[in-house]
């Protein structure tokens, strides 16, 4: 390794990206501790950070092209993990979802987070050849299939939230693989028109169940929705965020929304609400700015990539990352429905954390080799 990491590597290494990621994780760890002061989640998160950093460095200094050439193997390995997790006895069932594999010593981890990376690799490799023509129908179908396999397995867990985070990966890759703009515009328009129409039709025909309608209503009007029932999470999260005010709540950690267990899942799904309560609007805004810079650095790396494969992989990662951030924070702010999607780099969770660092490592690797042909 030492031989490979020569001076140029150190110079071209994206320090800003790496340190920004670490800073977000450390800030997140403080919030995890605020959320669950009596539980060891924050310690585990630090362990996760260490593991993530090692993985990041290892991948950063490995030629990503070699790794992408092995993408099919990783992809299949990922699928196997997704099958294993479904086996009772190995896969842990939590909240009705068999989505975790127990790892002795560390706890449990969620394979669907890793498979996101292997799937993105597979897609990047498939669409990564130099293009001459616009995207063909066949390519779209194959891309869809590559995505469909892990999605199908994850749906068996079932973990709809995770599945949703897979979709932007393919969407970004198709968008950047010369899919015809009119197709993009047409599907965007179709979505704008069809989604509300379909919802309306569904309500009218009774296909959309009343509890599903309730979930939508919660987002449309959280204050008047069933605050004790289906709207509880959203309402409590809004209160928690609101209590933070400009500079953070004055209530002690023990008397905070999470400390008194009014806010559910404070260290994972609602870590951003905890951040909002403790650090106020200023802290929240800083986190958002940090994410924007992080994503911008990644995109800069994508632009500088020496080949299409590298660019596509980074952008697929950016797509998944942005979508996940938006869904998770939107959930905390009561503008997206409550689905169990972790906030990258901040939510407690080994798999999410290390998968994100692996992806970051990949991005750094792509950058490091931008002048190498």
């Amino acid at each position: 390794m030492v031989a490979i990491i020569h001076k140029r590597s150190w110079r071209d290494f994206d320090w800003v990206l790496a340190f920004l990621a670490i800073a977000i994780v450390l800030f997140g760890t403080v919030q995890i501790r605020n959320a669950q002061p009596t539980e060891p989640y924050w310690v585990k998160q630090l362990i996760g950070l260490a593991i993530g950093l090692v993985a990041m460095l290892a991948i950063a200094f490995t030629d990503y092209r070699k790794l992408l050439n092995l993408a099919p193997a990783f992809y299949i390995f990922g699928l196997i993990l997704l099958i294993i997790v479904l086996v009772p006895g190995i896969g842990l069932k939590i909240n009705g979802q068999r989505a975790w594999i127990k790892v002795p010593g560390i706890g449990q981890f969620q394979p669907s987070e890793f498979v996101k990376v292997t799937t993105a690799m597979m897609l990047a490799r498939y669409f990564g050849r130099n293009r001459v023509h616009a995207l063909s129908v066949k390519e779209i179908i194959v891309g869809g299939l590559i995505l469909a396999l892990p999605i199908a397995l994850i749906l068996l867990e079932p973990d709809v939230g995770s599945v949703l985070t897979y979709l932007p990966i393919l969407a970004v890759i198709l968008f950047l693989s010369a899919i015809r703009l009119r197709l993009v515009i047409a599907s965007a328009l179709l979505a704008v028109v069809m989604i509300p129409a379909a919802y309306w039709m569904g309500v009218k025909t009774g296909y959309v169940k009343s509890y599903q309608q309730e979930r939508i209503n919660v987002i449309l009007d959280p204050e008047n929705a069933d605050r004790k029932g289906i709207g509880y999470h959203t309402w409590q999260s809004i209160l928690t965020v609101g209590e933070g005010g400009m500079f953070g709540s004055r209530a002690s950690v023990e008397h905070s929304q999470s400390g008194l267990k009014f806010l559910p899942e404070p260290h994972t799904d609602f870590i951003y609400a905890v951040t909002a309560e403790n650090s106020g609007f200023i802290g929240c805004l800083l986190v958002l700015v940090a994410y924007v810079i992080l994503i911008s650095r990644l995109m800069t790396g994508a632009r500088r990539a020496s080949d299409r494969m590298g660019m596509l992989f980074i952008m697929a990662f950016v797509g998944g990352l942005t979508f996940q951030i938006f869904i998770n924070i939107g959930m905390a702010l009561g503008i997206t429905p409550v689905i169990g999607v972790p906030l990258p780099l901040m939510s407690a969770g080994l798999a999410s954390l290390s998968a994100t660092f692996i992806a970051i490592g990949f991005a750094i690797s792509v950058q490091l080799r931008r002048f190498v042909n």
Partner: protein, 678 residues
């Protein structure tokens, strides 16, 4: 980008994605601004409210003592099941009715009413579900913590009243404040809230502000399940102040015992210190158990018990001393005699009037029970000569009688510190107009009726004892009262009795010249000590002055069984240095000298033992042993036993039982029989 071609416009697409990212995160930051900065304070308040609870700590109510600091009413701790209002916000309380009524063994209707009441009162924190929870109830609440985390058990002091209904009418009772009371401005000013325990009757009601104290509270932090996590602050309750009453428990128990052993077990005995108006005993029978109101009223059985009390024809809830009106019978002759002398209808030098065995007005003859010749005022009192007083009444005229009534405040409340005292009915032209619209003119026959304590005279025992006390003191008439003192505590000064109506004089001074006082007292002394109608209760060395009375309930001849006459005895002692005044009324038992007087003697015995430290001469038990209860006809025998010298011929049939040929007016009669429900 080496791999870019023109058809892909990759650069533009990347730029587009970058803008998209910034837009999405900007959207989040706008939302963040709205939630945290624009609406932050409101949400913070809601968030705080959902984790803060104010749990009341009920203030212990003051103890009620007798004049010798013996406790009459105290409190003991009990447990209540309550609901925290914040925890049930937005929930349908009616859904709780079924499981709670089953689990806590409660009447569904009571629960529904409670929850209804809460809806109209937004400003308080807890809802009382069940008072006096049993260990079983507490266990039920604890074991259903997951199902109903909003339920809590709290400790509260509960009033415990004497078990046998002793002093029930005086002390009254406490209970939960009613929705109607809550709506009143007074309740709002005092900061009362649903579930608060307040005095609802008797001294508990009148002196509620002293007794109640001020609840404290604990402000705690609860978690999402309503479990207490931490205490932020604790405000200790201010205990209610104690009350020392003027009641002497020994006399009180003696009076209650006398009523319990009386012929009909219905009646009233009041003992009062004429020198200041302090009530030493006030017993009204039948009585009731005030614990019903403080402990059992919310249960089905309690409600039935209450309904039974309300419908009881013997009206046990009524304090007969201040809420029942009776014709005073011959006891009326005392104020009549005083007023007659004051007004000059008779004089000290010549007070003789004919008895005549009765009187004829127009074609109506109203008879006297005896033939007393031409007695003077003393003898007329001693032997209760009706004929004398018919004539005295005619000499005074209705205006004279009205001014007597005014003078002795008989047409006013006495102002005793008990709630719902009723006003006596007294003779006046206006009263007749109202009672007999068909014959509204006041006639001489009406004056005759008004002068011997029937028909137009229907008064409360308390107003009578007050008037007689005033006679005993030569005109000083105090407001009877039960509060001796609210003792000083901390910075608070002791509070004594002040008339509830501040404008009233205490004492009111009636101009009774010494000579007139002496003359009337001589007559009253002789009633007991001079072979009069109360001779059987005489105590050597303890001069009781008194007057019997036998108040007619229905027309002559029908006065048997249930409709027997009311038996009165009003007295004070010692005759020339008054220490204690007493009145007794035994309903429907017959002649005053045979029932009311011995009952009073029983109380005097206790008083004598207490104050003289020796056995009273010829205690009443001995008298009782010597003879059986008798009616009016046994009067002579009674007199003979009670006095060393043989009864005079005049003492013979002294029962004031005139023939009222024209029956009492229906309204007046009704008042006599059913008393009053006010």
């Amino acid at each position: 980008m080496k791999y870019e071609d023109s058809s892909q416009n990759l650069r533009a697409r990347l730029r587009f994605l970058q803008i998209l990212v910034v837009l999405m995160l900007s959207l989040l930051s706008i939302r963040l601004y709205v939630l945290q900065v624009v609406r932050g304070e409101r949400y913070a308040e809601i968030a705080q409210n959902q984790r803060r609870r104010r749990l009341p700590i009920p203030a212990p109510r003051g103890v009620i003592f007798d004049r010798n600091k013996r406790a009459i009413v105290d409190s003991r701790p009990i447990y209540n099941v309550i609901l925290t209002r914040e925890d049930v916000k937005g929930k349908d309380l009616n859904a709780l009715v079924d499981p709670l009524s089953a689990g806590l063994d409660m009447d569904q209707q009571i629960l529904t009413e409670r929850f209804e009441m809460v809806k109209s009162m937004p400003a308080f924190e807890t809802i009382l579900v069940k008072q006096g929870a049993t260990p079983g109830d507490i266990a039920w609440v604890e074991s259903h913590n997951l199902e109903f985390p909003e339920l809590r058990v709290e400790q509260q002091p509960q009033r415990t009243y004497p078990p046998n209904g002793s002093l029930a009418h005086v002390v009254g009772y406490v209970g939960e404040i009613s929705p109607e009371q809550l709506k009143q401005q007074v309740a709002k000013d005092k900061g009362l809230k649903p579930g608060d325990i307040i005095g609802l009757s008797g001294l508990e009601q009148i002196y509620d502000d002293h007794l109640r104290g001020k609840d404290g509270y604990r402000e705690v932090v609860v978690d999402s399940r309503g479990r207490i996590q931490d205490e932020i602050q604790k405000i200790d309750p201010t205990p209610g102040r104690d009350l020392i009453t003027t009641i002497d428990l020994d006399l009180q128990h003696a009076a209650e015992e006398q009523l319990a052993n009386s012929a009909t077990k219905r009646g009233v005995i009041i003992a009062m210190d004429p020198n200041n108006g302090e009530i030493l005993a006030m017993a009204s029978a039948p009585t009731f158990d005030p614990n019903l109101f403080s402990q059992r009223i919310t249960s089905k059985e309690g409600k039935a018990e209450y309904a039974a009390l309300l419908n009881d024809p013997e009206t046990p809830l009524l304090n007969r001393a201040i809420q029942s009106r009776y014709p005073p019978g011959s006891t009326w002759k005392i104020p009549m005699a005083v007023a007659g002398l004051q007004q000059g209808a008779i004089t000290l030098e010549r007070s003789n009037l004919a008895c005549g065995g009765g009187i004829t007005i127009g074609n109506k003859f109203t008879r006297c029970m005896g033939n007393h010749g031409s007695p003077d005022v003393k003898a007329a009192i001693t032997h209760s000569c009706d004929g004398y007083f018919y004539r005295l009444g005619l000499k005074m005229g209705i205006d004279g009688i009205v001014s007597m009534v005014d003078e002795f405040d008989l047409n006013k409340r006495t102002g005793i510190d008990l709630p719902n005292e009723v006003i006596s009915w007294t003779p006046s032209r206006e009263f007749k107009r109202r009672m007999q619209p068909r014959d509204p003119e006041w006639r001489d026959i009406d004056t005759v009726y008004a002068s011997f304590g029937q028909v137009y005279d229907i008064i409360t025992p308390i107003s009578l004892i007050r008037a007689i006390s005033a006679v005993s003191l030569s005109g000083r008439m105090y407001i009877p009262h039960l509060l001796k003192e609210v003792p000083a505590i901390g910075d608070l000064q002791a509070v004594g009795f002040t008339p509830l109506d501040q404008s009233r004089q205490n004492p009111k001074v009636i101009p009774i010249p010494r000579e007139i006082h002496d003359e009337v007292v001589k007559g009253m002394w002789s009633v007991v000590n001079g072979g009069g109608t109360g001779a059987r209760i005489a105590m050597a060395g303890f001069d009781i002055a008194g007057k019997t009375g036998t108040a007619q309930v229905v027309g002559l001849g029908k006065d048997v069984g249930k409709n027997k006459d009311h038996s009165w005895f009003v007295s004070y002692a010692p005759a020339y240095k008054p220490e204690i005044a007493m009145v007794a009324l035994i309903e429907n038992s017959g002649f005053g000298g045979s029932h009311a007087a011995p009952a009073i003697r029983g109380v005097y015995d206790v008083y004598y033992r207490k104050t003289r430290n020796e056995e009273p001469p010829r205690a009443v038990q001995q008298i009782a042993k010597a003879q059986k209860p008798q009616d009016a006809t046994g009067e002579t025998a009674a007199a003979g036993l009670a006095t060393p010298k043989p009864a005079t011929a005049l003492a013979k049939p002294a029962a004031p039982k005139p023939v009222v040929k024209k029956r009492a007016t229906p309204a007046a009669q009704q008042a006599v029989i059913s008393n009053s429900n006010q």
